[in-house]
């Protein structure tokens, strides 16, 4: 009953469908015996984790797939207890320090060092070093990244790091220079359709091209999303024919409703109402940037060309502030207020010149 996306996940480098060159390089790296620290980066759903696991398998054999999860409890200097989930096999350990927010430095200092200071116990292991995977490396605070620097050099004998990040821009230069950077680009449409057809073949049905195109266009390079959408579509319409509208996730429809509310009426009262909706989205773990982006996209779809420019401008303006600031809702609200004002001004006066962009 696994979802397709998990069921047909490639397990070895050979099974990977695209980026063959990259696979070959990873294979030779694993074989060389001199495995470097690696920083995998690329958009989500491109296959970073899959490739990491495949590489590990290449390094250690199937043993790396025997995963177990531990929960470590440690105490911060301010006496707060924090749980960190650690996923590990006999040969590697996977951490997500950003789970604990601003305390990630403690995780790096305590747990990582502890792992790094012990040698590989399993004498039969193919490699003398262990591998530590750090997820969401771009969400690490600067302090945590700084704490990582020295560890990376000092314990090179015992440990190799694999960092996994969305982009390298938030990773400090010293770390970048200590890693081999591996970019995992999002699959092209052809590559995606190859994968989709592969899955269809395994599931023993035929995937018509229009359906495949619809899926690919709606998933914007995210293969994970594509496969999930594919399965959802197959569940809705087993024959995959006719008018295929891809079901939107709950949060996306809700963001759409917010956008519609903005356009339906522009007033403080409405803004108050929208505030409630925004709070709901945020509290239900939808990242604020996603919320803002989705709303903005929806708005742009519906307004006149002249306003589009403004909307995009203000979205960018407030997104930056949101990333810098700490209380996201304040910026979201300011964004909505600004859009309301711009739009109202446009509908009343039809001119946009008197609102300055700064």
């Amino acid at each position: 009953m696994s979802l397709w996306v998990d069921k047909y996940r490639p397990r070895t480098l050979d099974e990977l469908h695209y980026h063959d060159q990259l696979s070959a390089r990873l294979r030779s790296l694993a074989a060389s015996g001199d495995f470097p620290h690696i920083l995998f980066y690329g958009p989500s759903g491109a296959g970073k984790k899959t490739r990491i696991m495949c590489t590990l398998r290449e390094l250690y054999g199937p043993g790396v797939e025997k995963l177990r999860i531990d929960q470590r409890v440690f105490v911060t200097p301010s006496n707060r207890k924090l749980d960190v989930n650690v996923v590990q096999s006999n040969y590697h350990i996977e951490l997500t320090p950003s789970d604990v927010g601003m305390y990630d430095r403690v995780v790096i200092q305590d747990i990582l060092k502890e792992i790094a200071q012990t040698q590989q116990v399993d004498l039969n292991a193919k490699q003398r070093f262990k591998v530590v995977i750090i997820n969401e490396a771009d969400a690490l605070t600067r302090d945590a990244q700084a704490a990582l620097r020295r560890t990376m050099e000092k314990y090179m004998n015992n440990m190799r790091l694999i960092l996994c990040a969305g982009s390298t821009s938030k990773i400090i230069a010293p770390i970048r220079s200590r890693c081999l950077l591996v970019r995992v680009a999002a699959p092209t449409d052809d590559e995606m359709s190859k994968v989709l057809h592969h899955v269809a073949k395994k599931e023993r049905f035929h995937l018509p091209d229009p359906a495949s195109d619809a899926i690919i266009s709606s998933s914007s390079g995210n293969l994970r999303k594509a496969l999930l959408v594919f399965e959802a579509m197959k569940m809705q319409r087993p024959d995959l024919s006719g008018d295929l509208d891809v079901a939107k996730p709950d949060w996306e429809t809700y963001c759409g409703k917010v956008a519609d509310a903005i356009l339906s009426e522009q007033s403080a009262q409405k803004l108050l109402e929208i505030r409630g909706k925004l709070y709901e989205l945020l509290s239900h773990c939808i990242p604020p940037t996603v919320v803002m982006k989705t709303i903005s996209e929806r708005l742009v779809e519906k307004v006149d060309d002249e306003v589009k420019k403004q909307i995009v401008h203000w979205t960018a303006y407030y997104e930056l502030r949101m990333r810098v600031g700490s209380k996201k809702i304040f910026h979201l609200e300011a964004f909505v207020a600004k859009i309301m004002m711009v739009y109202k001004n446009y509908t009343l006066m039809g001119m946009m010149d008197d609102i300055d962009m700064f």
């Binding site: 999860i69 079901a247 403080a268 773990c285 700490s326 300011a334």
Partner: protein
Amino acid sequence: MDVDEESSEESDDYEDDDSKDEPPKKSKGKAAPKKTPPPKKSPAKKLATKKDLKNEETEKTENVKFEKPNYHAVAAARAAGPKFAGSKEIPEGEPDCLAGLTFVFTGELDSLGRDEASELVKRYGGKVTGAPSSKTSYVVLGENAGPKKLETIKKNNIKTLNEDQFLDLIRNRGAGEVDDKTLKARAKAEQEIMKQAAELEAREKAEESARKRKEKALSGTGIASKKIPPLSSQLWTTKYAPQNIKEICGNKAPVERLGVWLNDWQKNYKSGFKKPGKDGMGIYRAVLISGPPGIGKTTSAHLMAKMAGYNPIELNASDARSKKLVENGTNIDNTSLDGFFAGKGVQSTTAIGDLRVDSRTCLIMDEVDGMSAGDRGGVGALNALIKKTRIPMILICNDRTLQKMKPLQSTTFNMTFKRPGPAEIRSRLMSIIFKEKMKIPANVLDELVKGANSDIRQVLNMLSTFKLGKTDMDFDEGKQLLKMNEKNMLLTPFTIIERLTGPYAFSKTNKETLNDKMELYFHDFGMVPLFMEEHYLKTAPAGLGSYAGQEKDLKHLELVSKAADSISDGDLVDRMIRGSEQHWSLLPLHAVTSTVKPAYFTYGPMRSQGGPGSGFWGPSFPQWLGQNSKQTKLQRLLTDIQIRMRLRVSGSRQEIRETYMPLLATKLVMPLIDDGTDAIEDVISVMDEYYLGKEDWDAFVELGVDTMKDDLITKKIPSATKSAFTKQYNKSDHPIAFHKGDMFASAKKKIADVGPAPDNEDVFEEDEAPPDDEESVKGEDPDEEVNDVSKDKLIKAVAAKGKAKSKVGAGAGKKK
């Protein structure tokens, strides 16, 4: 307004006796002719304005036909403030030009708010009352005046003014034009004050000479005694502490009862506190006085004890009052003979500090609610003490509703002191002021008392400080002094927000500076910005006054957007303050961006929340706090889900939420809605596949929004299905991704608590073997259990097999 205009307009509603005679009071005559015709504001000014125009004189109306006033409309209009706020110039009048006059405001004025207007009156020595009566000198009528008030006005023949006339009155009336009656009253009051002051003076002299004598005597004996400070160097609060009942301001009734109780105490003691007596106080050994600070609780207690012939001993928060000390240190058993043998001036042995305890002692426990950490068991011990005391005890606290004061409720008589009104304090304060040779008008003093919340102590302290620099005070100085002393009071964010965004917070008459506004933020700089953020959308900004229609809406949006931008700026500053950089010196900037600026843009009366009848008008508590903790909670749940699914899924938390959950919902939740109980098997197998437990399923539902919102979903699933689902899920074993650290800890504890093992044994057996399952499944269960912990690939196969079998088994079971 001109006379002819008046006469033309009076036609519809009223019939006047057209004789435009001069108003009986001379002041009016002076004011009326000089006034300039003010511009008529708008045609919207109707009924009420017309009324003002003509009723300088008696209105003899036959048809005062009013629609029943809609309370909410009136309240809303009042909250909305004046229509053309600040449109008229506020005149600068002679000081005390309204002295002796009593004003009543009714209806809405054009440019002045009610508060502003009454402050004006007070500034010039006038008095403002709520309802018109025969003693009212003028009624200032505005739009939509209350029908009841109009009736009274008519009946009592009171002079009325409109707003412009009112302002002219201030502008033109000479200083201190007072009629005889007021003069007489004033003279009488003055005499009284002089008498009291003389009394004070005499007393002071007597005390001073007594002190001198004593000092002389002591210096002769050579005993190195403490020097008694001269009276003039004492604090005013001690110097002018009341010496008899008459001098206690306010709370006459409770003070008298206290005296009666003290007088009867010995009698009641003899009768064993059985007879309640006239006022029911006879059964109590102790009295608990409660009330706000500075209204004379301690003073009254001391005074009454002394007057009843007791020797009061006071213990307050500065003394340690732990259980032991309370029990040993106080002579409540009244057994000590110390007092009899000790000569005057000799330190007794059972004394606390240098207080003597003898037979006629009254114990005053001050600041009982301050008994805390250091005074372990204090209140309990005190209560035990009360039950067996042989001397009267007076307990004093500020708030007797506190939890820790509960034990005292039943053993003490509760006596509440209220804040005395300005009138009750006035004469006493005036005589003190007179004695100190200061000159402070009564209206200023009243403001001081009101501003200090009737805290006599604070007023006295303020005055004594003020005297160091100046001896006379005018209205503005009084306000200033109040403001200076106000800082010591911590305001709650609710009041702060009301003051920041109130209808006149930034109006022309408001004299607060930017610094004052920022000061408000510093009362509680953690909460105030959150309150501001919550509140700024809920006002009807005063800046919109002259706009209308669509333009008004646009302007409103513009203001709101500016405020929101400023709040957003504030958050960026906040990040610099509280982030890794810790720039705490930026707090003032944060004050401006997060609080003052948004308040400036959006200040104005509250808009009604959800239409009339919703009742609540004040600022509300910021949602942010609740929403933030909700977010933290859901984030934790999501992390739990993610880490469980991690064995199958590579995605991060966000990926799980954004892409997996919508699809998984169709496999985990929708089937239960669509197919009911039939779908349970499938749902459970999907859950097992991803190591999700029942709690995770609940969390999963809770994380949904829009059409997947949790309450919608739970409503859609029939309760029968829900309970069947829970039952079915609990019946079988499920793979577990990992055990939480704390789960072990709590489980262990429980077992230890339960004690003997057999119980657990039973439970385990039941858990392990669902009654109708086949052997094969049973055999595999422990296997599964063991292997699940290590989670290897092989086990997955086994688990799947087990599942398959159990499904078959279930099917077989059904067939049976």
